[in-house]
Symmetry: C2
Subunit: 339 residues, 2 copies
């Protein structure tokens, strides 16, 4: 397996991103293709002997502030655009980027195109549950305004991902809302509920607290709500750890207790940390594209590459194509028109 | 100050709700009016001598499953409807209920009416921040679909609440979105941003992690997004505590550490607990209405009554009326039409 890693345009310097790529190459026995400033990459890789790699020299940077569609059109020699092109040409099998999410999405749509039957791709985030399991939230930010048909397509892609990559048999699907009852939610959710009722495994509306308990495998929503949810979890986890640390510092007895608790607290912090779940697949485009968090450190990058390897090995794109065909046999709005 | 407490229709039995009312009567030196099953209330209050109280005998129950508008029309003898009526008649100064939120909102609109200049009331939640301060999130569930004008009105009411009740000078207002830049967010957020730009104290879009850091005083959004946020915080706080407890149970050394840490962990749990921040004011109706969580225990009820007392003492409804008039002088959509 050959995987392109976009080394520019994230919040961290290229050296940190490259370190993650090197660790992934060793851990997953894959060949890395580093896209970015060729000289800088070569210099950096001198520190890691015995790593098989190649370089795409594409020194232009798409920044977090760039307008996605325009940047993809104008910055033809950027690490992001050239990386996606390498995937398109078939010389590599997956693309991983911690850069501007909108630009990754725009370049993927422009260069790779959509899987037939999918109107809008969605970004899926894997969220840890209290039982130590995993739950998929889709869409977490690709589309700020969605139709009920878009959300049904997210549901189908989420089911396939859960089955093929997370190895869950007959995954259940919930619709993110603000109450369990059918009539609860805004107009979009109510219309989507009606459309999802015919989907195998649909369990109705779900609220946030059930979701972290892992009572459902896939949760769907529009990208605005999904991103709000994801950021709320991240923000709250961060806040909780800070509050706990403050509480511990408040007395010497607590400090003593914390000393004994140290290994447990360290594990706990890691469990809550976003870097363990570094990669969010962009589902619905014709190619394996994994989006990493803009703040990704080397561990998060390594994990994002792990997600890419898993997706390639399980032929995720093909499986989604088959899933869309299968569920399109049941009535499903725009799906039947597109195929 | 006389405050009506709705004792029926929450997830907890009336005895638990009444206990909260009794504690509030003692703590805040107020007279409680218990609305509900008269016999049951009288029986229960025998356990608490020396408490001044009166009873509204209204034994009908509006359940969590009832359709709000219909229930308010049909169940004329319910503790909820009769309680709001007592507020309307002016025999009491505030109404507190842990029952069906939609029904509290519907009854308030029907019986009390709106403050001039307000198209839709909003529910405001007070959220603790990392600095030990407080932040106001509005709307957290009264309106699932909103216009930009509705959200601007939430912003004005939130500013007034922050200033008068939380005693913050010149409160800042942020718009809940998925990125700081002006163009980030869905169509509703983009239109609202344009409308809020002229509002004093508006700081632009805010994300979740900044919000818990307390970098802004009031955060506005539609009620669907606000409820999703609030539930995500609750769910995540619950999950964090459970994960920590699990981690502690995993080794004897950790258990020993936890023993020393016990008082701190207890404080921490309380800090995270929803019951400390029991009451969410329904802003924009002509009367002081406080909505408590459906799971409220006696502590949460006591705190919700505390919020009611504070609102009455600071003449919140009058102050909102004045705030709307003040900000209506600056261009503000439907606001000028209504006044």
């Amino acid at each position: 397996v050959r995987i392109v890693l976009d080394t520019l345009g994230s919040d961290n310097p290229p050296a940190e991103i490259i370190k993650g790529g090197v660790e992934a190459a060793k851990a997953f026995q894959v060949e890395m293709v580093f896209s970015g400033d060729g000289k800088l990459i070569e210099e950096e890789l001198k520190r890691y002997p015995n790593v098989r790699f190649s370089i795409i020299h594409a020194p232009e940077i798409i920044t977090m502030e760039d307008s996605p569609a325009e940047a993809v059109r104008r910055k033809k020699d950027s690490s992001l655009v050239r990386g996606i092109e390498a995937l398109k040409e078939g010389t590599t099998e997956a693309f991983v980027s911690p850069a501007n999410t909108g630009a990754v999405m725009a370049a993927s749509l422009l260069k790779l195109g959509r899987i037939p039957g999918i109107d809008r791709p969605g970004i899926a985030a894997v969220i840890p549950t209290l039982q130590g399991g995993k739950m998929l939230l889709i869409d977490v930010g690709a589309n700020t305004d969605c139709t009920p048909e878009n959300i049904k397509q997210f549901a189908i892609m989420g089911k396939v991902y859960c089955q093929e990559i997370l190895r869950v048999e007959n995954p259940t699907v919930g619709l993110r809302s603000i109450g369990a009852e059918k009539h609860k939610g805004n107009k979009l959710v109510q219309k989507t509920f009606a459309l999802l009722e015919s989907l195998e495994g649909f369990v109705g509306n779900v609220e946030s607290n059930w979701l972290l308990r892992g009572e459902v495998d896939v949760v769907v929503c529009d990208g605005f709500v999904g991103n709000i949810c994801l950021k709320a979890y991240e923000g709250c986890a961060e806040a909780t750890i800070a509050l706990l640390q403050k509480a511990i510092r408040s007395s010497w007895l607590a400090k003593l207790g914390a000393l004994f608790l140290k290994p447990v607290l360290k594990d706990f912090k890691q469990e809550m940390s976003a870097s363990r779940y570094g990669g969010a697949p962009l589902l619905g485009v014709r190619g394996t594209v994994i989006i990493a968090h803009g703040h990704s450190d080397h561990k998060a990058i390594k994990n994002a590459i792990g997600v890419a390897v898993n997706s390639v090995e399980h032929k995720l794109v093909e499986k989604i194509e088959q899933g869309i065909l299968k569920y399109a046999e049941t009535p499903c709005g725009s799906l039947q028109r597109t195929i």
